[in-house]
Amino acid sequence: MNFVNTPATPVALELIGAAFSYGHDVALDEVTLSVHEGEALALIGPNGSGKSTFLKGVLGLLPVTAGTMEIFGAVRGPDTARSLGYLPQSDEVDPEFPVSLEQVVMMGRYRRMGWWRLPARADRAAVAEALRLTGLTTLAKKRFGLLSGGQQQRGLLARALAANPRMLLLDEPFNGLDQPNREALVETIRVLKGEGVTVLLTTHDLALAREVCDKVLLVNGTQIAFGSLADVLTLQNLQAAFSGFQVEVDEHSVVLPGHDGH
């Protein structure tokens, strides 16, 4: 099986006219897109435009109130939930909490392990692999709270990876990362894509979206555009999504003033 030219890989996520709502408030609607296995989708839009809503909708934390959504060819349910991994926006964790990085990553296995069981060899192997992928192997025994913010972020990513997800949802994964951590994360995403993992991520950083993503969904409460990076990231589309903000586009990146990621 060799999918160098990717169009042959199966569809991982498909939405047709989908809407997600909080109660009666529609947070995001008219979403129509398809993402193939091993592809990465960037969700781009102003704050409060529905990026995180989209991730929560895929996760099953919000109902689909219109249209349809299929994950790996199935309607969302317990089985699809098991194939998803989620990295929430950088969590504030208690820095004094007495757990090691290794133990935090092991938490990603609990769903598979079941209630009373202790970690088996397969669980320890998955944790070691997740630590290796995120470049954190040497820090395994360190107390989680003593790691830098970027290392904690990668540790939480390792926790999501330990469950061997087929699709990974990352909410603002690059926020507040320094250069080495940012590069490590980009590299990890590349490796995962190579293994056939589908990645959905929200970001304000268009340069990074260009680095690791194959497709873009531009939103502002509704779908503005979806497609390849070149097709979607036009000045016109970005102005439509970020109406009210000054948008500048140069050859390499798009600058969105006032959106440096808070």
């Binding site: 989620y86 929430p88 909490f97 090691s100 133990q103 938490m107 769903r111 209630w115 009373w116 939480l156």
Partner: protein, 265 residues
């Protein structure tokens, strides 16, 4: 067996139970909430005495009313409910005092309720503490690792597909059970000393939550038995001795922690 043997059994069971459950109370930063719980038991106990039913049952019901009330007000979270817990703490206690003043003939002594009377504890008290300990051990064997996960990172726990609120309820019920079991031994006010001090000391001495679950009960039992011995030797209140030994254990742990981190740097 003498009343002293019985007291030692009760304190051993309550010390171990408080160490286990207290570990989660301390990690969850909910000590003040637990304190409020101990005081809220007071009006329940008085009402139970007025109605002529088991005092521990009254105390447990009052605790559950408090837990339910706070849960209805919103999520019971560390900082957010500090003020609410503080208000409940004093209000519950004041309500109990008032009820007691209105019913001067009930067979409940404020002193023994607040400060405990471990030497007068019955086989029923020992049985209650034993059952509470057994229930807690079973719950921790089944869901201990999930409880640590939920306390460490509630949002991550939910994102991993678990029910975080369910874990919160389990923890609140275990805390209530512990407070009510500790009542006869050390009393409502001093119960918090066994719930907070041994786990806080264990936390200073160990770097893993799982290790705390062994060290904290051991320290809790030590505080109980050493406190009882001291109270016998010097003929002072057992509850107060236990609370002071628990505080002493915390101070020693703090000293060891300081010496260690001093040696490291």
């Amino acid at each position: 067996m003498s009343y002293l043997d019985r007291a030692m059994i009760v304190l051993t069971l309550v010390g171990a139970l408080s160490g286990l459950v207290g570990t989660f109370v301390v990690l969850r930063r909910r000590v003040l909430f637990a304190q409020a719980l101990t005081h809220a038991t007071f009006p329940g106990a008085v009402l139970a005495a007025v109605a002529g039913v088991n005092i521990q049952i009254g105390a447990a019901i009052a605790s559950l009313v408090l837990v339910g009330g706070l849960a209805l007000l919103g999520r019971v979270r560390g900082q957010g409910t500090q003020a609410a817990s503080g208000v409940m703490l004093t209000a519950g206690f004041a309500f109990g005092v008032l009820l007691q003043a209105l019913n001067p003939n009930i067979p409940i002594h404020v002193d023994s309720f607040l400060f405990g009377s471990v030497l007068a504890s019955s086989w029923n008290d020992a049985l209650f503490a034993g059952i509470a300990l057994a229930v807690t051990v079973v719950v921790l064997l089944i869901a201990g690792k999930q409880l640590i996960f939920a306390v460490f990172d509630p949002r991550g726990y939910r994102a991993a597909g678990f029910n975080e609120r369910g874990m919160d309820v389990v923890l609140l019920l275990l805390t209530t059970l512990t407070v009510v079991a500790a009542l006869p031994a050390v009393g409502a006010i001093l119960a918090i000393s066994l719930i907070a001090a041994p786990p806080a000391a264990a936390r200073l001495l160990t770097s893993k939550a799982t290790t705390m679950l062994f060290v904290a009960p051991a320290l809790g039992v030590t505080a109980g038995l050493l406190g009882l011995t001291i109270s016998r030797l010097w003929a002072v209140s057992a509850g107060a001795s236990v609370a002071l030994v628990a505080a002493g254990i915390f101070l020693v742990a703090l000293g060891i922690n300081r010496v260690r981190s001093g040696a490291r740097s």
